[in-house]
């Protein structure tokens, strides 16, 4: 190793890496996003219309809130697969309590829309706390624990209503998913503000810095007096609360709760986070990178839909392009994942 480079640090040569040094890694997807937009403008004349782009943003807003949640948890060195099931169960349980008509699957309690929102976040809180306690206190593996919780909650979502879709929800409950502020859907505002908020907190708040420290070396964080357990449980809870919020927005947008709400979203959440530079081993990546990952996936989906590719082939194209994006980010200077 070079005489200026470390000797006892790691087996791999730690040469200066322009991309990590300048933090361009977080922005590497931006040219790719532009490329997709240029291709999109050729594919369809309607692609660049403001309505279409706003539509893309709105459809990505729930995904992007989940990506914030998953990024927090990944940076902290953990996993949460159950986020997508929280997207389903939190609004489903709230809807069940809100609907007074038992013939359409309701509970008959008929609680108000505001109470429904409170119930929704309470469900998020409980799911996050359970995940956090199991992973942190019982030291269960996060992957398999949250997988089990995912299956459990999916099953409960089906069980509550025997697989029915619930309609006829109070207006207050649908408001955030349907309203527009200054001509732009409210869910876009919310996702944008959350990205800004969490981006700043992760960078400029000591709890954010502590999360990076925990993900990078939990034992060292403990020795340095960082409350590792408390922060990790907190991260799981915040993650699940965000997932519940995403469920609320999704419910508002489609004005109903489906039994399979949120299904398969977790795959796109991971894809967006990882191509956005969030490391799966913890301690790595930034919110701005995760945001570019979400935008890229959202635009791709839209371009593929507009391009007229047979609907059954869209997923395959999507997967191939995600792989390509990973290869590009690797080749543009990202350190190999260990």
């Amino acid at each position: 190793m070079a005489s200026t480079a470390p000797q006892a640090v790691s087996g791999a040569p730690a040469g200066p890496n322009l991309f990590t040094r300048l933090k361009l890694r977080d922005l590497v997807l931006i040219p790719v996003i532009f490329l997709v937009m240029i291709i999109g403008s050729f594919v369809s004349s309607s692609f660049l219309l403001p309505e279409n782009l706003l539509n893309v943003l709105q459809q990505s807003s729930e995904l992007s809130i989940l990506v914030i949640a998953q990024s927090l948890i990944l940076i902290c060195g953990k996993f949460d697969l159950s986020l997508e099931s929280t997207v389903g169960i939190a609004p489903m349980f709230a809807a069940w309590l809100m609907i007074s008509d038992t013939y359409i699957g309701g509970s008959g309690y008929g609680i108000s829309g505001y109470a429904g929102i409170a119930v929704l976040f309470a469900v998020g809180l409980i799911v996050g706390a359970i995940n956090g306690l199991l992973v942190v206190k019982l030291k269960l593996n996060a992957f398999i624990t949250t997988l089990a919780v995912l299956i459990l909650l999916r099953g409960m979502t089906l069980g509550i209503t025997n697989g029915q879709t619930l309609f006829d929800l109070p207006e207050e409950f649908l408001y955030l998913g349907t309203a527009k502020w200054a001509g732009i859907p409210c869910s876009i505002w919310i996702a944008g503000v959350l990205f800004l908020l969490f981006g700043l907190l992760m960078r400029y708040h000591r709890v954010g810095r502590a999360i990076y420290a925990i993900g990078g070396n939990a034992e060292a964080a403990r020795v340095a007096g960082i409350p590792v357990e408390r922060i990790t449980i907190g991260v799981f809870i915040v993650g699940s609360l965000l997932a519940a919020l995403a469920g609320l927005l999704l419910t508002g947008r489609i004005a109903s709760v489906m039994a399979g709400q949120g299904q398969n979203m977790i795959f796109y959440v991971f894809a967006a986070a990882v191509i956005g530079g969030i490391g799966l081993n913890g301690g790595q990546g930034r919110m701005i990178g995760a945001l570019t990952g979400v935008l890229l996936l959202g635009l791709l989906q839209n371009v593929l839909t507009l391009s007229g590719i047979a609907a059954f082939w869209i997923d395959a194209c999507y997967g191939a392009i995600i792989l390509l994006a990973l290869i590009i980010t690797r080749l543009t200077g990202e350190a190999p994942r260990e």
Binding site: M1, A2, S3, T4, A5, P6, Q7, A8, V9, S10, G11, P13, A14, G15, T20, R21, Y204, H205, R206, V207, R209, A210, Y212, A213, G216, N217, E219, A220, A221, R222, V223, A224, G225, I226, P227, G283, Q284
Partner: protein, 505 residues
């Protein structure tokens, strides 16, 4: 240097290299390096961090290719770079870090990629097990081949690695800081084994920062400095002061003792009273005056680390008190202990100190993040101001506070760990093995930092079994099986100290 001998006795050399040039990018890190190690030799390879030792080892084990020069192993040209199996059969390296696969059994680790095979080329598990048992028995290693390798102690793990190397056919073994985590008794056992193997014709290249060990176990030494070999000698004719002089160049080192304490009146900086923790230590009474440096010496498992961790707030004692400048400190809470005035550097920075992915600045200010703004927000400007000041005052070599700490040398990483402990302006500094795995120059820098801390009136407790680290202390307390047994003022003899640490008195 030895080219004549080399050509004549080529076949009796376990390893030889000459004219080696190695570049990483534009930087040439090895300049015309030559080394030749006769079969059965025990050769020490010493040099400060960055001298090129690791690069040379990388070349001798086929991890890198040289840009110029020739390497021969066992009298034959080195295998092609990609032919790992051929390299493994000729040379093996036991690193400081774990190179066994934790979730495979000991037996599988012994025969990694070399499993005995039976019909159809399938792994013959029974034979693998039998041969592992035989190997373990030969090595006096009282472990079952069926347990997972992560259950091994450091000592057992090293032996498994050496045994694996020999089973793979290698007769040339490189040991890279093998004793860093061993206690004295284990080191002796390791050395006995090395001597035994040497007698049977196995050749060793031994890398260590502990010069005493080198004199104990090695016959010859190669000294590297700035990418060159600067000395090749028999250790018998090469006293320690000359060895150190060769390592550091013109600036010869004087063994230092540190500044003597400026004892002040008043309450002790750190006072432990009747401290007891079940299965760790009991009846610990210890006073460290402000400006005094006290050593706490003991074997691994003697309780010395637990005492340190109790003062740091990582462990909560069953009874007893810790007082700082006469005030009883809250026990069992790291943040509260720090607020009461304790700065702590834990053993093994890789495991318990560094945040490798984070910049130097975050690593230095981990414990004082609340100082850079209101409501927990961190103002980058205010953080950077403190970081720059610390980098300058501690003498950390880094391109800036934004450089990831994993890119720094071991010595600079360790200085950063001290910087973190000092960041909270402590009144008491507790350092566990503060110079472990750092080169001589960085050791000196660490001692300078300790001297400065003493001058500023801090009470310093150095927890260690390294005689160099204990030499700088004003007084050394020995802990054996959880109890303080002896106290040495300055000027003790190495022999007495080792005897006391081992409990032989």
């Amino acid at each position: 240097m030895q080219s004549v001998r080399m050509t004549n006795q080529s076949t009796n050399l376990a390893a030889e290299a000459h004219g080696i040039v190695k570049r990483f990018g534009p930087i040439e890190v090895l300049h015309d390096v030559a080394i030749s190690i006769p079969v059965g030799d025990a050769r020490a390879l010493v040099g400060r961090n960055g001298a090129g030792k690791s690069t040379l080892v990388g070349l001798l084990t086929g991890i890198y290719g040289a840009n110029a020069g020739e390497i021969r192993l066992g009298g034959k040209p080195a295998p092609a770079l990609g032919d790992r199996q051929a390299w493994r059969e000729r040379v093996a390296c036991v690193y400081q870090r774990w190179m066994v696969i934790p979730h495979l059994t000991v037996g599988e680790n012994l025969f990694l990629n070399n499993q005995p095979r039976g019909a159809l080329g399938l792994v013959d598990w029974r034979r693998l097990r039998d041969r592992s048992m035989a190997a373990l028995k030969e090595w006096d290693l009282d472990v079952s081949p069926d347990i997972d390798a992560w259950r091994l102690t450091v000592e057992q793990r090293q032996i498994v690695e050496i045994a694996r190397a020999l089973l793979q056919g290698s007769r040339f073994i490189i040991l890279d800081e093998p004793t860093a985590e061993l206690e004295r008794k284990e080191v002796n056992r390791l050395f006995d084994r090395i001597r035994g193997l040497q007698a049977s014709g196995v050749t060793f290249l031994y890398i260590s920062h502990h010069l005493e060990e080198i004199y104990e176990i090695c016959r010859t030494v190669t000294v590297m400095r700035d990418g060159r070999v600067v000395a090749d000698a028999e250790l018998e004719e090469f006293p320690k002061d000359r060895l150190v002089a060769a390592m550091v160049g013109d600036a010869a080192m004087v063994k230092r003792e540190g500044v003597t304490a400026t004892r002040t009146e008043g309450p002790a900086g750190l006072a432990l009273s009747g401290l007891r923790l079940a299965d760790a230590f009991e009846a610990i009474d210890l006073r460290v005056a402000p400006g005094e440096c006290v050593g706490l010496a003991g074997l691994a498992g003697s309780g010395k680390d637990s005492v340190a961790e109790t003062i740091a707030g990582l462990l909560k004692p069953d009874s007893g008190t810790v007082s700082i400048l006469g005030t009883k400190a809250p026990l069992g809470d790291v943040a509260a202990m720090r607020a009461a005035g304790v700065g702590f550097v834990a053993r093994d920075r890789h495991v318990r100190g560094l945040f490798p992915l984070l910049p130097v600045g975050d690593n230095l200010t981990t414990t004082v993040m609340d100082r850079f703004g209101a409501a927990g927000f961190v103002s980058p400007a205010r953080q950077a101001a403190m970081v720059d000041k610390q980098i300058a005052s501690i003498g950390i070599v880094a391109s800036s506070g934004d450089q990831p700490i994993r890119e720094l040398s071991g010595g600079n990483q360790q200085k950063a760990m001290l910087g973190r402990a000092l960041a909270s302006d402590p009144k008491v500094l507790v350092l566990v093995a503060p110079t472990q795995g750092v080169d001589i120059a960085s050791k000196e820098a660490v001692y300078d930092i300790i001297d400065q801390a003493k001058a500023r009136g801090m009470a310093v407790l150095v927890v260690s079994d390294d005689l160099d680290e204990l030499t700088i202390c004003d007084r050394v307390e020995v802990i054996f099986r959880g109890r303080l047994t002896r106290s040495f003022p300055r000027g003790w003899k190495d022999h007495d100290m080792v005897a006391a640490i081992e409990g032989l008195y």
